[in-house]
Amino acid sequence: MDNSLTFLNSAWFWPVFVCWLLLLLVFMWKELSQFGKKHLYLKVVCVFFAVSSLALIALKPAVFEEVKLEKLLILTENFKEKQLDSLKREYHEIEVFDYRKQESLPDVENVQEIFILGNGIRDYDLWYFKDLSVVYLPGEINSGIIKLHYRQESKPGDRLEIKAEFLDPGIGGSLWLEDAGGNKLDSVIFASGEHTRFKLLTDLKTSGNYVFNITEKDSLGNILNRNPLPVKVGKEENLRVLILNSYPTFEIKYLKNFLAEVGHKLVVKNRITTGKFKFEFFNTENTLLGNLNKEVLEGFDLIISDSGAIRNLSSKEKNALQNAVRKDGLGILVLGNPNSLSTLGDFSVFELQTVATTQTVLNGFPGTTLERQAFQLKPEVGLEEIHTSNSSVLSAYKRLEQGRIGTTLLENTWQLQLGGKHKTYQQIWTEIVEQLSKRKLPIASWNPESTLIFKDEPFQFQLRTLIEKPRVLDENNNLIPLKQDLNNSELWTGKTYPRAEGWKQLKVEQDSVSVFNYFVYKTRDWKTLKAFHTLQKNNRFFSRKLVKDVKERMPVAINPLWFFGLFLIGMGGLWLVPKL
């Protein structure tokens, strides 16, 4: 029993004890001096009780008891009535909290068991329930889009591909993708009412931040709901490309025209004969292009070369090229005879396997037969595929520290141009050139924790930057506090609460270019998607079942009224004794 008594405010013990002693002495001295010795012992007892009870009120003595813990029921969106009813039947006095009303959560620490019904607790509130015993009973998800995936940042000419999953569509219902102006771009019609995966496609026409819409209609064409789809279409940035050629080929000629026509800065060095070259400058200034050195190479994002031209470089030039690739991230595309790919010294990074066929249909380009060399790239660690045909790799690259070196075994693709298949040609070379080119390294890169950002809900983001003490401001120039990662000094996290819907902005004060645009949805947008996300998060979070020890003993404070009564008795005694 001794062990069972404790003070809740035990930290105050000594100060309270000193006060108690002082008060006791003062009262004693007063009693002793004023009233002789009559009833003195009675008075002393009264004084002792009164002062002690005051001290106890302050110290809050508590007794360990086997507390009977309560159970809590939290109702969230789309809970099942049946589950609620049966729980209530089981636990008559269960406390019910309605999470939907957006009130602050009750104290959940001292609850024996929590039942959560419905879609669950939003991400940002889940930490409340860490290490608590929670039973999560998922609710039912309504019909609608439950999974949505698309590239939020693209550039004009890119194809926007929206992959999504639709739960329980109505038969004959349809889904329409609309652009910012409301033009219908693509649609899906649900012939059967089953769970469907689908893709919506469109080509992006112009740059800027736009809000597309996905509209759901029933079989009669009535609009059921419309959800915004933010799309960031960035500005195109031109590449600087150097083409080295030991002899002219059609492939290079057409590639050169394609790249120059779309506006890239192009320098072509074509060998006409021994020691004589033809220099061509497209969309750029006529500069002197002597030997390749650090300064010259810094001006380019990509070098397209045949193996002969690389072989003909002096060792100094080769070193400079290697350094530019490794340190600056320059890309090299080696074209030409695959046999000579292995004779390039440091630039020979690919291993080839022979195949019998010289015709191929690339994955992702059905219906277009292309010529290829009778080789394929050997799949190995570090080989990043660009184009494949079934399982054979035809275009790929390898990383050399910051840079990339790549090749393609496709041949005579220029015939596509002649055959009028411009789009295929453009797509093939766009993929190759884009993958290999030097990357733009932003001073700050932003990484939102979730793409579903709602009004008045916390939005957490990560920022990677080399800036020493970055200061992040929102669109109204409010400073957002950042937290630095313990292990990685370049990583910062911050949290903000968007107050309005629409496009919002975060920027780094030190660098005006580092702007991050994000879209804030209205609370009513993407209900099903949000519900499904929450449900999955909750399912994962509450998968471990913790059951609290039912017999746990808890210090329970003795009701201070007792001490107050004691105090009154003491005081009353002191008042009454002189009257006796």
Binding site: K155, P156, D179, A180, G181, G182, N183, D203, L204, K205, T206, S207, G208, V211, E236, E237, N238, L239, L259, A260, E261, V262, G263, H264, T273, T274, G275, K276, K278, F279, E280, F281, F282, N283, E285, D301, G329, G382, R399, L400, E401, Q402, H422, K423, Q426, Q427, W429, V433, E434, Q435, S437, K438, R439, K440, P442, S445, R464, L466, N488, E490
Partner: protein
């Protein structure tokens, strides 16, 4: 008597009813005419007519006039009848004696009186009402009182009324001149025979060359009115209070009006489309005809076909251009003729179904000649007519001699011996003989026929020699030996046409059959049975197949000769043709063997490549800017700007308006081809650029239109953004080390 009296009463009753009906009609027509002047709407007038007609009918009740009423009326009007006309209605049997007397008396009276008594009516009142109503209506119309009611609203539907908006929003405080009347007249070109068209709708769709006249009148003083079309600007002239302007349509485009009021404030209207339709060229379809028609020399050389020709505004003319070509190579001659269709042609018809019968003989065509023809049709378009022509059709009379010309080109020199041609000469001579039959004596005819037979025989023998089997032929004509002997010298000289090439090149030895017989036997008795390839003289020149053909030809020549001998050149002729065609086949098959010589380049010495003297070769530098300028730059910018405006409450600034104007210009360039499609967006852009107008819905619509007009962008590789950082590069370095 009784019946007579009753009959009079009935006719009186009918007259009365008729008058009442007439009265009803007059009231109704009066009301209808009156409303017509106010509404100019047939429907309203007819409704009024029906309503009034029914109302007055109910009041007058013409059907209520029965015989009782008639007798009552007559009795009242005429004392002479002593109130007894009712007796006339009853049959004589029912009446008492006295009544019978009275009835008879009255019957007489009624006959006289009924002519004097007029049925009660108010026809005059009705007539006067009609006239008065017509006059009031007409006067109202004449003095324009009626305009206030219907007519204006009906002439210009609300959506067609030109709406002018001030370009400066401060202008609102002035009194704005109001457009009173708008009129657009399209005078179609005369040849289209379309009536002139007047409308209040300002969008124009008309045929090229139409004359457009605008007429605008304003309520209030206006300083100037002008018409702005894509890039151009023309003033409208003031003419009797209204502003008019005309334009001859040449190309599609847009226009809008702008007027400046006396206070110097300018107003613009919406944008309207001009869509010019071109007068299409006539469309010709020929039926019942193959593209290539070939006839044999003995076919019915006739062509029949029909031509369907249609045009949108009527045809001016249609005919056939036929060209006959004769000969080949350098000696080819052409003759062109213009043929008309068999049916009579009516100018101005837009649908024609014409037929034509062409007889090649009538056109003077011979075997080997070719006819090319096509149909040409002209429409009525002014000043430059549209001409269209059908495909060219061919008709060929097969040449009996020369076919398979395609093979000939492979060989520069004709290697075949020329005497093969003499069969043709024989045919010509035979035909000549047949045509001369009536002119020459039978004796001469027979002789000539026999001579030809001899020629035929000679030819046959020579072919036989060519094949290497002269014996057969030589012995074949034993019976005529005598004749031959007699004529031997002259016959050969006169009729074998040596100059025509029987044996000009001496490819075959000319000798006498018997003689040869003996010689060959003497030289080599086995010659006939051997295929001696070593000796070119004795080898047969043909393959087995050809040999068979030649043998067939020789047999046919036998028949030809036979009929000539029998003095039946007509019968012989068909065999001769057959023989000729076989010989042609042989000739052509022999020509297939052509030497082909290609160009063989000398082999390239790889080692010597790129090692020549390059002293004078220098580096070459070239600079070019290939980047295409973006035709839709401002349209793109506008779309982005509109997106920003949509989601905020920004005011449209001056720079925005300039941007929208430039975007409008870009769109207009694109829209010229399809004005109808982009017109709405163009109008809205103009409104955005000129006047203060916004609102999310409006902006959304403009953006939608612009996005729709923007073509898809082609793919373009761009710069991707990567992630840098110390950690990143460290990892990459480590990875590579691991790899090695």
């Amino acid at each position: 008597m009784n019946k007579n009296g009753k009959g009079i009463l009935i006719s009186f009753q009918k007259r009365w009813q008729l008058l009442l009906w007439l009265e009803v009609f007059l009231y109704a027509i009066g009301a209808a005419v009156f409303t017509w002047f106010f509404s100019f709407n047939l429907l309203i007038s007819s409704c009024v007519f029906v309503i009034v007609f029914i109302a007055v009918t109910v009041l007058k009740r013409p059907w209520k006039i029965d015989l009782q009423k008639v007798t009552g009326f007559i009795d009242r009007k005429c004392n002479k009848l002593e109130y007894s006309s009712g007796l006339l209605l009853k049959s004589t049997e029912e009446l008492s004696g006295l009544a019978k007397l009275q009835q008879q008396k009255i019957a007489k009276e009624v006959e006289v009186e009924s002519k004097q008594i007029r049925p009660e009516h108010k026809l005059e009142t009705a007539g006067i009402t009609l006239v008065v109503m017509m006059i009031i209506g007409f006067l109202g119309y004449y003095f324009g009182l009626t305009n206030h009611y219907f007519s204006k609203e009906i002439t210009i539907p609300k959506e067609e009324i030109l709406v002018f908006r001030p370009t400066d929003s401060t202008a609102e405080k002035y009194k704005v001149p109001v457009l009173k009347d708008q009129k657009l007249t399209i005078n179609y070109p005369l040849y289209t025979r379309l009536a002139n068209f007047t409308s209040s709708k300002m969008d124009i769709k008309a045929v090229e060359g139409s004359r457009i006249t605008w007429e605008l009148s304003f309520d209030g003083e206006v300083d100037s009115v002008s018409l702005e079309s894509v890039g151009s600007h023309r003033s409208l002239y003031k003419n009797e209070g209204s502003y008019t302007g005309t334009l001859v349509l040449e190309s599609s485009g847009f226009y809008n009006f702008r007027f400046v009021d006396t206070a110097g404030v300018s107003y613009v209207s919406d944008l309207y489309a001009i869509e010019v339709t071109k007068d299409k060229a006539p469309n010709i379809t020929l039926e019942g005809l193959k593209q290539f028609n070939s006839f044999n020399y003995d076919d019915q050389k006739q062509i029949d076909f029909s031509a369907f020709i249609t045009d949108d505004f009527g045809l001016a003319n249609a005919y056939i251009i036929a060209t006959v070509s004769r000969g080949s190579g350098e000696s080819v001659k052409f003759r062109e003729e213009k043929l008309f269709f068999d049916n009579a042609f009516k100018t101005g018809e837009s649908n024609l179904n014409l037929t034509k019968h062409i007889d090649l003989n009538e056109m003077g065509m011979k075997p080997g000649d070719e006819l090319y023809f096509y149909v040409e049709a002209l429409d009525l378009k002014q000043p430059q007519t549209n001409i269209s022509r059908s495909e060219t059709y061919f008709a060929v009379i097969k040449d009996t001699v020369d076919y398979g010309a395609g093979v000939e080109s492979g060989l520069g020199v004709d290697l075949m011996p020329d005497y093969f041609r003499s069969q043709r000469q024989l045919i010509i001579d035979t035909e000549k003989l047949i045509s001369e039959r009536d002119e020459i004596s039978t004796e001469k005819f027979n002789k000539n026929s026999n001579d030809l037979a001899f020629d035929q025989k000679a030819l046959r023998l020579k072919y036989g020699q060519f094949m290497g089997d002269e014996a057969e032929g030589g012995n074949g004509a034993g019976s005529e030996k005598a004749t031959e002997d007699v004529h031997e010298e002259d016959l050969l000289a006169d009729y074998t046409h040596d100059h025509d090439g029987n044996n000009e090149h001496n490819l075959v030895k000319e000798d006498d059959g018997h003689h040869h017989d003996q010689e060959s036997e003497a030289e080599d008795p086995l010659a006939d049975y051997l295929h001696n390839h070593g000796d070119p003289e004795s080898s047969t020149l043909f393959t087995d197949n050809l040999k068979r053909k030649l043998r067939k030809a020789l047999n046919i020549m036998w028949d030809a000769e036979l009929h000539l001998r029998l003095y039946e050149p007509e019968k012989s002729l068909s065999f001769q043709y057959e023989a000729l065609s076989l010989i042609q086949e042989i000739k052509n098959s022999a020509r297939i063997y052509v030497h082909r010589i290609g160009f063989e380049p000398p082999p390239i010495k790889e080692g010597a490549r790129l090692s020549g003297d390059i002293g004078e070769i220098d580096n070459y530098r070239k600079k070019e800017a290939l980047e295409r300028t973006d035709k839709y730059f401002f349209m793109r910018k506008s779309i982005l700007r509109l997106e920003e405006l949509k989601n905020s409450n920004f005011e449209i600034s001056k720079t925005d308006r300039e941007l929208f104007e430039k975007a409008g210009n870009e769109l207009a360039e694109k829209a010229v081809n399809e004005p109808g499609r982009y017109l709405n967006t163009l109008q809205q852009l103009k409104q955005l650029a000129d006047i203060q107008k916004n609102g999310n819905k409006f902006i959304n619509e403009v953006q939608k239109g612009l996005l729709q007009a923007l073509p898809n962008t082609s793919m373009k590789p761009g710069k991707q953004s990567g992630s840098g950082g110390k950690l990143n590069s460290l990892v990459l370095k480590e990875l590579e080390l691991d790899g090695q």
